[in-house]
Amino acid sequence: MSTNTHAAGAHDHHHDDGHGHSTFSGYMLGFVLSVVLTAIPFWLVMSGALPSKQITALVIMAFAVVQIVVHMIYFLHMNTKSENGWSMMALIFTIVMVVIALSGSLWVMNHLNSNMMPIHEMTGMK
């Protein structure tokens, strides 16, 4: 497979080859989706439309994830074929690293924090 793509790609590879072909409708669809996906979370927080803060937090985080995917597809032109799949491989690896680092840090430090709390209160520190 690699010899195949090398033979074909050696002379025909251009800058845009690996990143799909951008179209006006693609950009506009991405833009409209992002505006909607940005406006709703702002409105939810500013108006307090949802009854509980936990639900609001979960909903706006879900909107953020969807919007990131929209940006990846319509603006960064990510797909499984670009650069023979290496872009996607790099992205998946990065996402795994980010998830481990973020969830690990928050989890560990949160436990540390709750274990430290009584000492803070006992010594009257603020």
Binding site: H6, A10, H11, H13, H14, H15, D16, G18, H19, S22, T23, F24, Y27, M28, G30, F31, S34, V35, T38, P41, F42, V45, M46, K53, T56, A57, I60, M61, F63, A64, Q67, I68, H71, M72, F75, L76, E83, W86, S87, A90, L91, F93, T94, M97, V98, A101, L102, S105, L106, M109, N110, N113, K126
Partner: protein, 209 residues
């Protein structure tokens, strides 16, 4: 699989890979740049993690609710979003070889980007004026580091954008300039992706807390 050819002046054989074939210039640039963006993504992930850990440590100082003006953040977000779509238009006109229109869209993108930086600096100045400096609390240290790093990236993007406008003005839409505009496109849209994380986790969740 090495083959000896062309004995050099000293008589030593020169070795090279027989299956090495020439690639056109910039062949691997977009993948290389993508990998750079992924490494940048890890930097931001660490800053988000730091903010996530320290974001509630106000040290009896001001909390997000006292500091953040969501109207201003909404305006700022729209600036960045608009600059993303105008950069998209610049790429589309570039594909059609329309130099003047490409330059115009790049300029508009730059103006939106500059507006974003301007609003952010105004916000920072306002916060610092109120005593909410990075030294005030762990929350503010993490806030200024995360949002400041993003702002620094956008500023670098603006410098890059201006450089490329001069390049396109002087040399036209040559292959090298197209490649550079493609890289900046990825950089610019990537910063917009990071900003989604910033406005959601720092501003919206901060005010919600």
């Amino acid at each position: 699989m090495t083959v000896a050819v062309n004995p050099s002046q000293t008589g030593e054989p020169v070795f090279y890979l027989a299956d090495e074939h020439p690639h056109p210039e910039g062949y691997s640039t977009s993948l290389g740049f993508w990998i750079y963006l992924m490494s940048d993504c890890l930097i931001f992930a660490m800053l988000f993690a730091a903010f996530g850990v320290l974001g509630a440590n106000y040290a009896a100082g001001p909390a997000p609710k006292d500091l953040f003006d969501l109207d201003l953040v909404a305006v700022n977000t729209s600036m960045l979003l608009l600059s993303s779509i105008t950069y998209g238009f610049a790429m589309l006109t570039m594909q059609q070889n329309k130099i003047a229109q490409t330059q115009m869209w790049l300029l508009i993108t730059g103006l939106f980007g500059a507006a974003f930086i301007g609003i952010e600096l105004t916000e920072f100045a306002h916060m610092i004026h109120e005593g909410a400096t990075p030294q005030r609390s762990a929350f503010l240290s993490a806030f200024f580091t995360l949002v400041g790093t993003h702002g620094l990236h956008v500023s670098c993007g603006l410098i890059w954008l201006m450089t490329l406008m001069v390049q396109v003005w002087r040399f036209g839409l040559i292959e090298a300039n197209r490649r550079r505009l493609m890289c900046l496109s990825m950089f610019w849209h990537f910063l917009d992706v990071v900003w989604i994380g910033v406005f959601t986790f720092v501003y919206l969740l901060g005010v919600l807390r």
